[in-house]
């Protein structure tokens, strides 16, 4: 078992699929389906092979360019493996949802699979160069998927997306260049160790002067763009709304997690101490992200924009949890709160990925049936002509709202459980976000599904068997995690304990 390069295989598989899809024209979607199914199976194997003590498993190392500290170094812990599973599920959903790509399907599915490879690579990399390669690799296909298959205003939306993320990438690159010049290493594990003893800060200060805090801010900014965090979020609504819905599923379901993952894998381990110094302004930004995301969602009528802003809101909870735990070690009670918040953040990443992807999938189905309508005022009383659609989308909506018994609740509960003792003001303010989100989601349900049946919706076709079959496992997963959160928390908790033990604030 050990020694088998399963992570390399997992990363290469979508690349092979992409190459085949590119040349298979009309059959590209089938190629993509097979590839993503196989990827999911492999990701689940990775999940089951995880070391029980929360350390890095399935590690592969090989020299790459030693003079630059570049190494081929991969491995996963509970956090990475969960993200792999999420990326595999979301990509599969996205491919499944994209059954109406008529324009250059080979290229479309090739790019989607390239993106999947980028996701897998960045969730397993343990060396900056290696990680950055895949981080950028995922950016390019995302740009073209928006640019070529997007809605009417796709040009500006794709440009904005590209410029923002590229600026974030440059910030990351510059910061890591500085770290490399000071320490001679690009290895996350080694740098984390240096940071935990304060050696990283000393090395940077010795080489470049007192700039460690600025490096921390640069790295945070790079990830904040991707998550996104206010005030770096303005690219998001346009990109999410203009991208074709299956691509939006990928953007929100999997790519936004790259930002949160980067914070947990890179920013906090390397710059925890510096982040703790600026914790208060960061908590303010996180709380603003939560509340503003919810308020902005309330002001929209386009369903894609509503869910786009509610994504900002949901990932705001992750930011809240991450910044709240940045407090110096202080006994068992603090540790328990930190562990709860971190478990919550990781669970929330997974839950939001599944739920948001599902919601955009439902929007795609509504659009297909009405020739492109997706405003909440374009529908009415759909529960009568399409009860199954209404029921399943209702479950997804309630999951997004955070109803107990569904997946969304557990993550948010754990985050708030952890954040309250650590930063009660930010937590209290963020409660406002929860309330507004609830109002937004209920408004969607009310306007679309209840009330008198709108005239043009009388013959609204319900889900056919294929769609029910495709959606059933996703909805099932939402219920399963809601009822048995231990399935994920149990596997992730050793990693959380292990991570917290290595971090220094």
């Amino acid at each position: 078992m050990s020694g088998f390069p399963i992570l390399t295989l997992l990363t290469v598989l979508p690349l092979v699929g992409a190459a085949i899809a590119l040349w298979s024209g009309k059959h590209a979607r089938n190629v993509a389906l097979v590839t993503t199914l196989a990827s999911l199976a492999l990701a689940l194997v990775v999940w089951t092979w995880l070391p029980a003590d929360g350390s890095m498993g399935m590690v592969e190392r090989a020299a790459w360019a030693p003079s630059l500290g570049i190494e081929y170094h991969l491995g996963v812990d509970g956090l990475g493996a969960l993200m792999l599973v999420l990326a595999a599920i979301v990509t599969l959903m996205s491919v499944d949802a994209a059954h109406r790509v008529h324009h250059q399907p080979g290229l479309y599915f090739g790019l989607v699979l390239l993106l999947e490879s980028g996701l897998f690579g960045s969730f397993t990399a343990l060396n900056f160069f290696h990680w950055f390669l895949f981080w950028e690799l995922s950016l390019i296909p995302a740009f073209f998927l928006i640019r070529l298959w997007g809605g009417a205003r796709r040009g500006p939306a794709a440009t904005q997306f590209f410029v923002y993320t590229m600026a974030g990438s440059v910030a990351l690159l510059v910061c890591f260049l500085a770290v490399f010049l000071s320490t001679g290493s690009m290895d996350f594990g080694h740098l984390t160790q240096m940071a935990s003893t304060g050696a990283l800060d000393r090395a940077v200060t010795a080489h470049l002067g007192p700039v460690t805090l600025w490096l921390a801010i640069g790295v945070l900014a790079g990830f904040a763009v991707k998550v996104p965090m206010v005030p770096f979020h303005t690219w998001l609504p346009a990109a999410y709304a203009e991208a074709p819905s299956p691509v939006t599923m990928l953007l929100t379901g999997a790519m936004s997690k790259m930002g949160v993952y980067g914070l947990l894998r890179i920013a906090i381990p390397l710059f925890g101490h510096q982040i703790a110094q600026i914790r208060t302004p960061l908590l303010v930004l996180a709380a603003v992200t939560v509340v503003m995301g919810a308020w902005a969602a309330a002001a929209q009528t386009d369903m894609k924009r509503i869910f786009a802003y509610s994504s900002v809101n949901h990932l705001g909870y992750c930011l809240l949890g991450i910044f709240a735990i940045a407090v110096p070690a202080g006994g068992a009670a603090v540790f328990a709160s930190q562990a709860a918040a971190l478990n919550g953040v990781i669970l929330q990443m997974f839950n939001h990925g599944i739920t948001a992807a599902a919601l955009f999938w439902f929007v795609a189905m509504l659009q297909e049936r009405t020739g492109g309508h997706r405003g909440i005022d374009d529908f009415g009383g759909l529960r009568k002509p399409a009860p199954v659609l209404a029921g399943l989308m209702g479950i997804a909506l309630f999951s997004s709202l955070g109803l107990p018994g569904l997946n969304g609740f557990v993550g948010e509960f754990l985050i708030f459980r952890g954040v309250f003792p650590l930063a009660w003001v930010a937590a209290t303010v963020s409660i406002l976000g929860l309330l507004v989100t609830a109002a937004v989601i209920l408004t969607v349900i009310q306007k679309v599904f209840t009330g008198p049946v709108a005239e043009h919706c009388v013959n609204f076709p319900d889900l056919h068997h294929g769609e029910r079959l495709a959606l059933a496992p996703i909805i099932g997963l939402m219920l399963l995690i809601g009822l048995l959160p231990q399935l994920i928390v149990g596997a992730v908790n050793p990693t959380v304990v292990n991570l917290l033990a290595h971090w220094r604030f």
Partner: protein, 502 residues
Amino acid sequence: MLAWTIYLSFAGALMLALLPKGKNGLARWLALAVAVGGLALAVQGFVAGMGQGRTVLVDLPWVPTMGVHFLLAADGISRVLVLLTGLAAVAGVLFSWNIELRTNEFFAFFLALIGGVYGVFLSFDLFLLFVFYEVAIVPKYFLISIWGSTRREYAAMKLALYSFVGSAMVLIGLLAAYATSGSHSTSLIALGHAGFPVSFQMWCFPLVFTGFAILAGMWPFHTWAPTGHVAAPTAASMLLAGVVMKLGAYGCLRVGIALFPHGLDPWGFSFIGVGSWRDVFAILAVVGIVYGALVALVQTDFKFVIGYSSVSHMGFVLLGLMALNQIGVTGAVLQMFSHGILAGLLFAIVGRIVYERTHTRQLAELETMHLSRRLPFAAWAFVIAGMASMGLPGFSGFVAELQVLVGAWMVKPWWTVGAGIGIVVGVAYTWRALQKAFFSDAPASAHALESEHGHEFAAITWPEVTGVTLLAGVSLFVGLYPRILLDTIEPAVKALLAGGGQ
């Protein structure tokens, strides 16, 4: 074996020159065969040279009274650049497949140029190197003035004049060095041990370095480069930006830095922070990086965008050289290779694949043609080349520029800051050109509509596909596995910087 690259190329040039007119097909295949043969020799020499230091290939007395030898040798730096020349030659022939005007003469000049370039990279005798250096200039002039486009006579003359001025400076320096050394040898190896007086190096170094740097496109002596690149036929642009500019940078390193290392010492006084020739040239390099990128950002002619981007990318080479440390100079050599490949690819796409079909290079006109739909191969080839040129990780440019930045940082951090700004602007101009030329949504103009319905663009031909695949594949491979070249470059750079002559 490596020496045969030179003989083979010149023999090929001679055969093509003697070929009767009208046998265009034969001329092409002959040129391709010679280029492929050269590449095969270069690869063989590269592989055989792995893990070896400098090896002497040929050493024959040539002008005994002056101590001039026909001395060919190769170290890691030469082997990598010879490999680059081989690749550029094959790609150049492939992208000249459609030349119908005086085909045999075209390829004769082309191969003569290639032979000269091989010669420069393999010469370890100062006068031999200079002879090959001059030999390379002449065919360049004819390639541009006969087969060129936009203001070709002006561009060809400008290029030739700049080159000759640079050569004259180099020649004065070389003669002075020969006279001063007192040894009756012009071998670079012997001269490296000559130990020139510091005061002599102080004036001879800037002279020789500037002379060579003119051909490397150093700001403010770069102006021949964009006009020359634009006017030249595609294959000549590819060679000009791909390998000829490297001749200049190579001369800077092999002759300037290696023979006169003390020319880089501090003057003993400093004026607004500039205290040595090293500072002067590093600043010119940084200015070139930023200036080239900014000018590329506002061009309306697609080919000029690539032309100015070459100035910017060559600035990285000069900056890496001025870092004078292991990592910076290694980065400079790798950047020479990387830019050689990528400039070739970019000029091939713009000048051959796009221009030969659309007959315009104006971005404003290309915007209305929706090329991503009508020429998807060109669009995606440019996406890949553009990503590599931007310096995205996974391509050769990233590793090279990263090393240059790291090396420069170790000397003076603000050099790196300046070059970093150039990289950001580089992303912007590449991306702007990509958007405008291929992925624009601008409404089709009447002219474009007419041509769209009137006729389809000619299909992409096999030489184009082969050429793009070759160049893009090499850049990707080196980007993903930089050690393939670094393991060869690093020991050679180490030996060169350690002094004692190469």
